[in-house]
Every structure is written in structure tokens, then in C-alpha cells.
Symmetry: C2
Subunit: 522 residues, 2 copies
């Protein structure tokens, strides 16, 4: 129906690419995504590159080519769109992370995760806010009010969970993965509360009432977001178990899982909770209960399909960021005062490094106090990796900065333009440098088990299927017998087996009814 689309082009100037036709842009974008997948595959063996860096670099190159071919008019083919990011790209990534996360590791490290995610984010936020307030006064960056400085604190304390997934490997360094990624998820809830707090209170007069209010808000948000995710996950398990969808269609099972996960995210956003936290816990519950209630084919399909969509959304984001970074309009103001821009970027980068160091090392010390056995403690080398791996700022910082410092994509004020270009610089630098150096850093500091490296992605996905769930049992039961959480975990297992699994299904509580395929194979 080509004729129809040509009409659409005229009607929808909305997507507002420079050449006017979204079909052009989408086609080019899809082609670039293909290129990222292929080139990322070819560079897989490299010890330096991650997929995100490849996508970033391809995006930058494309930006340069478009810039040259349009004679400096424009560099991007799609404007950065918050709706696209928060409604379509982020949910599959976070849901998949919850779905594939090693639950035991995550819950075992709950204490340090909360410490880093809540206290750490606040410390980082304060250091960046107060630091910029201190240093930017001497620079001539243009008009910035107090709210702008605190906004900068929020922009640069929002860690990017997506980047973490790219540089850390769940199979290789499970402890670090769960710490840094878990921190990223909790960090999102903290950011929501922080942002609301900035808008409501006068932060220059911090009173004990304010602090109590902040903590109360955080607790409320954290609990309701989590409960919502758990409730939707349990509901999906119950519906699929009761109605026995596998009877005639595995497609309906998968459709329902996708739709309900997405529903949890959207409802959470609608109620002004943390969608990231909600959909993460929804993913955890779905992999613990719902996944065991579906047919064998649905299990394989859901694992791989969710991972694929998360993967595509990730490279999409990085391609996007790379391509948008060269947008000429933003750099116009910055080039008027290049030294201000360089100084501002350097200050921000320094504050990010400092802000993270200021909470990782002290809070690790606190977390280690609660851990008795030596093998459980977070060592200094691991702390260095946690500090480094969480430095990357990505699409979330991007989206926040755009939200605060631009109006509908345009940067009129000089101060705002410099804030945007500095954000782009920090995001690009932390991603490229972080993406290139994290793997070698982990290798030299920690020497992780080498064999698991080459086959990790295949292994992590097929093992649970291979052993029909036995692998996860092993995973649940290993661990230090001196584990302080052992009793909690023991009672949870009792409760789970006695009350939860009989109702919601789960491993061992669903009659094993092989699908057509299984019957032939077993």
C-alpha cells in the first residue's frame, strides 16, 4: 500500500526528521540496526568492544555522514523522543533483566543493593549538585538557577541499568552484576522521589521533617511499586495455570505474558510510581511462577524472545544516542564559548567520578560489617569494579537532561545548550571509555573463570531448559552454609512450597504435561 504511506508522509510531519519522510528514516534505522548486529557479532571475540560501543560508534559515523551530505544542516534522522524511550524501549530491557536475573544472588545482596541504591544515589546527587553550584559560579555558563543545579545532580546521579547489563556478565561475575544492576533498579525509585522532592520542597532548608518525609515517600514508593509488580506477576501465573492455555495455543501464553508485563509497567507509570522497579519485580515473579506453568515450547520461546527484544532495544538506544550526539543546533552555542563547554564537561565528569567514589567505598565498608564470613565480604578490588562499572551515564541521563534543559528539542539559552552538550560529552565519554576498559579491568583485577566466557549467552539460556529446571534448584541450594540469610531463605522456601506454589504454580507444582514436541523427545 505504497500510495497510502506517501499520504501519511504529508500528514505526519510529527516525527519531524529533516527530510520529512519517516519511512526513509525507519528504513535507514533498521538497516543500521542490522549492521550493529552483524558487526557486533564479528567483534564478539574482541576483548574490548561491547555491542553498545559498536552501536554508539556506528551512530556517530552515520551522524557525520548525514551532517556532510546535508551540508551541516542536520545529523540525526530521528529526534530523541522520551515517549519512545520510556514507553517502548526501556520496559522490555528491564523486564528481561528481571526475568533472567539470578534471584538468589539478588536477594542475598539485598542489603548492599538498597544501601547503594538509596543512600548512594542521595550522596552522589548531593555531591554533583553542590559541586556544580560551587564551580559553575566561576564559569560564565549563562543563567542557571538553584533548581537547575539540583536538576544536574539528578541527571548525573541517575545510573543507567542498560549500560550495566552490557559491561558486566551475570555468569562471569554474579556478585558484581547483582550489586551494580540491582543498585541501578533501586536508583530509579530514588530518582523519582528525589525529583519530586526537588519540585516540592525548598532543599536549601533541610529540616528533619523534610528528611522524614523523604524517607517515608521512598518507602511508600518502593513498597507499592514492588507490590504492584509482584501482584501482576502472580495474577499472570494464576490465570495461565487456571485456564490452562497450553491446551491449544502456546502463542496465547506468550502474548499474555508480554501484555501483562507491559501492563504492570504502564499502570505503575500511571500511578506515578517507579515503572522500572515494578516491571523488574514482575519479571522476577513471572520467571519464578508463570514460566513453569507454560508449555515447553513457550518456555524456550519466552526466554529467547524476551532476550532478543531486550537486545534490540539496547542497540536501538545506543544507536540513537550516537546519532543524536552530533545534532548541529546544540553545538552552535557551545562553539561560541568552547572553553566554558570544556571546563563544564570536565567539572561534571570529575564530580561524577567523585560522587560515586564517595558512596561506593564507605557503603561497602558498612555492608561488609553485616557479612560474617570472609568469602562473603566485598573486597577492595571488587569495590573498584563496582565504582567503575556504575560510572556510565546513558539514555536515562540523556532523557532527564533533555527534559530539563530543552523545550521540544531546541536549546535556546546558552546555559541550557552548554548543559546539553556537556551531558552528551559525559555520556559518550563514560560509555566509550567505560565500555572499552571495563572488560580488561575486570580481567586484570578479578581474573574471572575464563571458560564461561565464550558460551555464556547460549549457556545461560539453555541450561534451565536442558535440565528441566534442575539447574535452578542447584543454583538455589549452593552457597555458603554459614550464609546469614540462610534461615530467611529456608522459611521463604517453606512458605513458597506450602502456600504460594500450590496456588500459582511453579517448579514441581505443575503436572508435567509435555507438548507434542516433548512427547517425541522424551
Amino acid at each position: 500500500m505504497a500510495f497510502n504511506l506517501s499520504h501519511i508522509h504529508e500528514k505526519l510531519g510529527v516525527t519531524s526528521s529533516h527530510d520529512g519522510t519517516p519511512v526513509n528514516s525507519i528504513t535507514l534505522f533498521v538497516l543500521l540496526l542490522c549492521a550493529c548486529v552483524v558487526i557486533g557479532h564479528l567483534l564478539e571475540k574482541s576483548r574490548w568492544m561491547t555491542e553498545s560501543v559498536v552501536a554508539l560508534i556506528i551512530g556517530l559515523f552515520t551522524g557525520i555522514i548525514i551532517l556532510l551530505s546535508t551540508e551541516g544542516q542536520s545529523s540525526h534522522i530521528l529526534l530523541f523522543n522520551e515517549e519512545l524511550f520510556f514507553i517502548y524501549l526501556l520496559p522490555p530491557i528491564i523486564f528481561n533483566a528481571g526475568f533472567q536475573v539470578k534471584k538468589k544472588q539478588f536477594f542475598r545482596n539485598f542489603m548492599p543493593i538498597i544501601l547503594y541504591g538509596v543512600l548512594g544515589s542521595i550522596i552522589s546527587f548531593l555531591i554533583v549538585s553542590l559541586g556544580t553550584l560551587q564551580f559553575f559560579q566561576t564559569l560564565d555558563v549563562g543563567l542557571l538557577d538553584l533548581g537547575d543545579y539540583f536538576a544536574l545532580g539528578a541527571v548525573f546521579s541517575a545510573t543507567d541499568s542498560v549500560c550495566t547489563l552490557q559491561v558486566l556478565n551475570q555468569e562471569e561475575t554474579p556478585l558484581l552484576y547483582s550489586l551494580v544492576f540491582g543498585e541501578g533498579v533501586v536508583n530509579d525509585a530514588t530518582s523519582v522521589v528525589l525529583f519530586n522532592a526537588i519540585q516540592r520542597f525548598d532543599l536549601s532548608h533541610i529540616t528533619s521533617v523534610n528528611i522524614m518525609q523523604f524517607l517515608g515517600n521512598f518507602l511508600y514508593l518502593f513498597l507499592t511499586s514492588t507490590l504492584l509488580g509482584v501482584a501482576v506477576g502472580l495474577l499472570s501465573a494464576y490465570i495461565i495455570k487456571k485456564l490452562y492455555f497450553g491446551r491449544h495455543s502456546t502463542d496465547r501464553e506468550i502474548a499474555l505474558m508480554i501484555l501483562m508485563a507491559y501492563f504492570s509497567y504502564m499502570v505503575s507509570e500511571l500511578l506515578h510510581l517507579s515503572g522500572i522497579l515494578t516491571v523488574f519485580f514482575c519479571g522476577i515473579v513471572m520467571s519464578h511462577y508463570t514460566w513453569h506453568n507454560v508449555t515447553e515450547n513457550s518456555r524456550i520461546t519466552s526466554r529467547h524472545a524476551f532476550a532478543t527484544f531486550s537486545f534490540m532495544a539496547e542497540i536501538f538506544i545506543f544507536l540513537y544516542v550516537g546519532m543524536d550526539a552530533l545534532d548541529i543546533e546544540k553545538w552552535k552555542f557551545a562553539s561560541n564559548s568552547p572553553w566554558t563547554f570544556v571546563a563544564a564537561s570536565a567539572i561534571l565528569l570529575g564530580l561524577v567520578l567523585l560522587g560515586r567514589a564517595a558512596f561506593v567505598f564507605p557503603l561497602s565498608f558498612v555492608a561488609n560489617l553485616t557479612r560474617k564470613s570472609k568469602s562473603e565480604k566485598i573486597g577492595f578490588k571488587q569495590q573498584v569494579v563496582i565504582w567503575w562499572a556504575g560510572l556510565m551515564r546513558g539514555a536515562v541521563s540523556f532523557a532527564l537532561a533533555y527534559n530539563k534543559f530543552t523545550s521540544s528539542g531546541h536549546t535556546q539559552l546558552q546555559g541550557n545548550a552548554i548543559m546539553i552538550t556537556s551531558t552528551i560529552t559525559v555520556v559518550l565519554l563514560t560509555n566509550v571509555v567505560g565500555g572499552l576498559l571495563t572488560k580488561p579491568l575486570i580481567r586484570s583485577l578479578l581474573n574471572p573463570h575464563p571458560h564461561s566466557y565464550s558460551i555464556h549467552s547460549e549457556k545461560s539460556l539453555s541450561l534451565p531448559l536442558l535440565l528441566n529446571g534442575q539447574e535452578s534448584v542447584a543454583n538455589m541450594d549452593t552457597g555458603n552454609p554459614l550464609d546469614s540469610n540462610h534461615t530467611v531463605h529456608y522459611y521463604w522456601r517453606m512458605f513458597d512450597d506450602k502456600f504460594m506454589r500450590p496456588v500459582f504454580g511453579g517448579r514441581g507444582f505443575v503436572p508435567f504435561t509435555p507438548s507434542q514436541t516433548d512427547r517425541a523427545l522424551y
Copy 2:
């Protein structure tokens, strides 16, 4: 990041729902999709209902509730959006149809498919155009020019392939399925040519040059669209075979298949070809070559994931159409002259019935002339089913009518308003009546094999996996030995085995390298 979305709400008035917040709308929409999946599952055993009818009815009910709760202000939560339909919803449906289609059946019936799809569409187009030109003059429908009548012909001769997939079953009635669905795919190419022809030529003076030009255009469009789809499909097979993606990631394989299929559709639209035809052949080639080059897990995942996305897109469309049907603005004009509206709808419905009868029966007679054996001929009862099953008009007619008779969703002129409401009426009537009566009609006329009914969806998907591709061999080799196409098929197999498969992979030409899972199972 709830705070962010609330900003987005303000910025993006684009989606223009009555309550202003797209998050609301999306949440409700996702919830309704869940309801459709669950209710569709519960009604599965019913011999009458199809999923599409369930979605339509739920959409209508929701429309009524919104209409009442907003006191008659609005009934829809999302405006019908052509971009959404043609760029995001249609491609996965058509691609999946090509991917899962029984290739032998499709190519064996190529001749009648081309006859129905090209000549049939033109006959139907002429009857509806000339019929409305005749009858609407006596009605006081408001200003319509000659182009409007021919546009009506195009709107009501565009069959909806999506509806066909819902009412006919590939396992139960393979011949009818391939005929009616194949016709739908070819019909799309014809529609593109017809629409361009209307815009360029003065159709009231039909000359032999015009007709030759039309046929030349059609041949060019058909061949280039098909070749593009085949080329992209082969490219995907070659890349995945050469680079051996399965080595470390099945996710990349699936991502590449999805991205390249989508790329074929978008390039085709960009070149003003028929994207439907292109992505359909891309699906066929991918299932013939690419699918055999990926890991076992990717095979299972791709089959089910593509089917799931097609399924979700289908219920999305019908929910959409049902919800949009009650939009109050369109009915305002129609209610001013209710009799004109009823008469116009009745005339259009009659012409659709007549236009289809006028080509199905004569062209079936022509097609039967080329078929020697009696078992191969298309019987009269089958012709009746073909006539009936292809009557449904769906989202494509909808999109065309909106494109022609509205400007940005509003219906200012009385004539246009009546055309829109009549289109909605015809779409709803053909869908509800057709959806309810097709299954009983097939059952009473043809008495298909009953056993395959209850497990069809599971069977069709798992069998190829179960027998590791042997089922398709059987499927390819059965058939009448007197088959007139036998030699063509024989030479194609020789060519395929000798030249195509060694390069592009395919069944038996890829070393069987089981993934981790397979090794444990075999």
C-alpha cells in the same frame, strides 16, 4: 521515571485522545488486549466465535462505556492511525503468514490465485465503482465527484488478508486457505496499481494503451516486489549461514531475521512497491532457507514468536476498529439523514456481495479448465466458501476510506461523513456476520476432517520441529502424481538442491550442530 512521563503528556498532544494522556490510553488498551486473549481462549471451543469477533465486540462495548462516561463526547481512546497500521501492525501479520504458509499448496494454486487477485480485483473494483455511480445519484448523499466513486471501488475491492487468516484454517481447508489468502496478497499489489492508475489516467476513456500500461505496471510491480522479498530473504540466509551466529547467540539470529524482514517491507514501501507482497515472499524464503540455518532453540523461538506477534497485531487491529466505530463525530452527519445512510450502506453491501460473486464463479470455471483431474478442480461448494470467506472488509478498507474521505480524522462534508459511516457499517457487518457464519458454513458444506480442529495451532507449529523437518518433506512430496505442475516442481527441486541450498543453506544442507539443549535431548 513517572515524573518524566507526566512531562511527556504535556508535550505530546500528538496522540490526541480525549483525556490528553497517552499513558492512560495505552494502559487501558493493553488491559483490553489481555481481556481479548483470555476471553478468546475461553470461547475457543465455541463453533461460532473467532478471536477477531471477540475483539470487535469488546471494542464496541468499551466504546459504549467511554461514550456514556464522557457524556457522548467521545468513544475512542486512540484515533485510527494509518502509520500505526501500515508500519507497525500489518508487516508482522503478513510476514508470519508467509513464514507459516504451506508453500506447496501456495505454488500449486498459483494460477487461480493470480486470476482472483488480479482480474477478480479489477472486476470487483469496476462493479462497485459503476454501481455506486449508478445508484448514489438518486440518493442525496452530498457532493461526490467521479474520483470519489472510483475511490469507493478501491475501498471495497481491497480484501483484508488478516480477516481471512481468522476465518479459514490452513490445516482444515488447505486449498481454500491458500486460494483466499493468496488472493488477498496479490490483491494488494493490484490495489496499488489501481490506485495509481486512477490518479494518473482519466478512467472514463479506457483505451487499449491504458490497459496495456496498466498490465505492464502490474507486472513490473508484482515482479519487483517479489524479487525484493526473495533477495532480502536469501541475503538473511546467506549472512546467518556464513557468519554462523548460532556459535554464541541465538538472540542475534532472531533479531537479524526480524530486522531484515522488516527492512524488506520498509524498502518496498519506500520504492512505492507493494510491501505486503515483498514481506510475504521474504517470509516464504526465510522459512525455506534461513530457518534451517539457525539453532534448534532459534527455530522454536522464531516460529512461536512470529506467530505471537502476528496474533497480537491482529487482535489489536480488531479492537481498534471496534472502538473507533462509535466515534460520535462521524455519526453526527449520518444521523441528520438516517435513511440516506441506511440506503448507502445497503447499496454498498449489495455491491460487495455482487462484485465478489461476479468474479469468483466465472474465474473458478476458467481455473478449472487448466486442471485435469477431478479431485483437483474447485468444486461449486468450495466456490461458495471462497466467495463468502473473501467478503470481509477490514482494516485496509478502513484505512483507505479514512485516507480518502477524512482530513486528519475529521469528517466535515456530509457526503464524506456518510461514506465513512457506511464503510464502518460494512466492515462491522461483514466481520461480525462473516466471522460468526463462516465456520458453520464450512462445516455444513465441506465437512472437514474434525480431529485436526482442536489441536491445529499447536500441531502446525510443533510438527516441523518434532520431526526435524521431515514433515515438510512429506508435505512437499505428497500430492497427485498426475499434478500438471509436477515437472516444474521437480526441476525446481533439482535446481534448489544443486545451486540454491549449497549457498543459502536449507533443510539437509546445514551440518546438524545441536545446541546445548539438543545434545541432551537426542
